[in-house]
């Protein structure tokens, strides 16, 4: 049995009377890739914002590496080893690609030389080796997504939360990125992976959590999820569930 890295217990988030996430619990173990799927508006990104400290929780708790991090600020969570990427990419636009990744690497080292080396290594790993001097704001969307990943990786995370990292990428780019993510896990980083394209996640994930309207609809192995009638109904409409 592997150690639990992230434990989410009855997490709820209300915006006024609107329950964006209600009573969701799941765990992430070390070196696991967990897929978080669900239709648009099912609360995936809200859940990320709650876990990483961008939103205060309405109720529930988040534990990370055995510590209660409920309500902890995002920067502190990052320094503990939990880092996220953004669905709507947030490049540090007027800085260069290399500088963007260096800023991530500074979470691990004060030395500009060492952070530069880490950054170059991460860029190389993602096949962005030649892009270092380019302005981050001028990259096409596919590369901005990869930059998000490179920057997050440079912080040396134990847990990586990827918010639709494949959105906007074409088929071959997606396959390539999924391969990279597999490699990241093999280096010992656990991953929570938001995606609403089920096909992209079933091949990659060890476990899948399905959200619908803010509630946990199902959790299990990819094979269990793809054959779960409730999940099929949520995605394809009720008629298919009984077919």
């Amino acid at each position: 049995m592997k150690e639990k890295l992230l434990e989410i217990t009855s997490l709820s988030k209300h915006f006024g009377g609107n329950a964006a996430v209600s009573n969701v619990s799941f765990d992430v173990e070390e070196e696991m890739i967990l897929g978080l799927i669900g239709p648009n508006g099912s609360g995936k990104t809200t859940l990320f914002n709650c876990i990483t400290g961008y939103y205060p929780l309405s109720s529930g708790s988040v534990r990370f590496i055995g510590r209660d991090i409920t309500g902890m600020k995002p920067d502190k969570a990052c320094r503990l080893g939990m880092v996220r990427t953004w669905q709507r990419v947030k490049p540090l636009g007027s800085l260069s690609v290399l500088e963007n990744v260096m800023i991530g690497a500074f979470a691990k080292t004060r030395s500009p030389v060492r952070s530069r080396n880490i950054a170059l290594e991460r860029l190389e790993m993602l096949g962005m080796g030649g892009l270092g001097p380019k302005a981050a704001g001028k990259l096409p969307i596919g590369l901005k997504k990869k930059l998000e990943l490179a920057r997050a990786l440079a912080t040396g995370p134990k847990l990586l939360l990827l918010d639709e990292i494949c959105g906007g990428l074409n088929y071959s780019e997606t396959q390539e990125l999924l391969e990279t993510i597999r490699g990241i896990r093999e280096n010992g980083t656990a991953i929570v992976f938001i995606e609403h394209d089920m096909k992209a996640v079933t091949g990659l994930c060890d476990r899948i959590v399905v959200l619908k309207s803010g509630e946990k609809l199902a959790e299990g192995l990819p094979s269990e999820i793809t054959s779960n009638p409730a999940v099929i109904a949520a995605y394809l409409g009720a008629g298919y569930g009984h077919a």
């Binding site: 920067d75 502190k76 636009g93 007027s94 800023i103 979470a107 500009p112």
Partner: protein
Amino acid sequence: MTRTLAAIALFTAAAAVLPLFLGDNPYVADIIITMLMMASLASAWNIVGGYAGQFSFGHAAYFGAGAYTTSILLTTGNPGIPLCVAAGVAVSCVIALLTGAIVFRLRGHYFALASIAVAEIVRLTALNLDITGGAQGILVTDVSFGALDMNSKNPFYYAMLFLLVFTLCLSAWLRRTRAGFYLLAIREDQDAAASLGINLYLWKNMALLLSAALASVAGSIYAVYIRFIDTSAVLSLRLSIEIILTTIIGGIGTLWGPVLGATLLVSLAEALRSNMIGAFLVNAGAVSEGSAIGKFLNNNLAHAHVLVYGIITVLCILNLPKGILGMFRRKGSA
């Protein structure tokens, strides 16, 4: 880095020998001291406004705190100028912390608004206390410091130059350290910065403290140089705004932008104030002195420098968002 250091060294050397060529011309020396002062203030502002992207509209408070603290100490027994400068820095840092520690908990425009409010509080306090001389201000008679000839312009010229070069070196160094990268990250995107482990609150406060301390030193030197201060000279909102305009017009977030901005704007202000431009137009025959335009120029242009700043700023923001320095640089290279 070596190129930047070489440029700073070259600038320092050129500025250091400049007084030898000026001869004994106190008018020109005064203008250059003012340029060095505005360049130092704008460079100091640039750390918090240009690098960290937190717009302070109240930097006169730090300048004024340095000037007032120094003047008060000098009139109550002159404990030595270095101590006066240090005390000014301490007072400025307290004011900066009072603002930053509270307002940097929030994001958005709160800091800009609060910085105006705090600067006004400082100004009104100085205007109403006895220790600050109220509306009369403070006249300093004893500014003696060792064997230096304090009636000469030279000590002040070199003091301001030292402050400017120190601020430039500090900015250039910052830009290459983790702290500097963090400030830029905060300017670019606060959510992204936080997600990468950057404590927004801590680093914004650091930037403000550093900036306030440097502005305070400029105020101290100014107070010893001018020997008379009042609230309208050292604590006015106009001064705060001139510091910002100098930076924006020169090139915000760049190392040399504040220096360029100060050189241009101080020259321009002086040309307008002494009505050099009006006289030039009349002498060149462009307008006759007796005409309506000639009279208007003679009577009004001297007071128009803030208006002209405003027009230049609008033109800069519309056409040169990276300032005049940005014109010469490719986009993307900060």
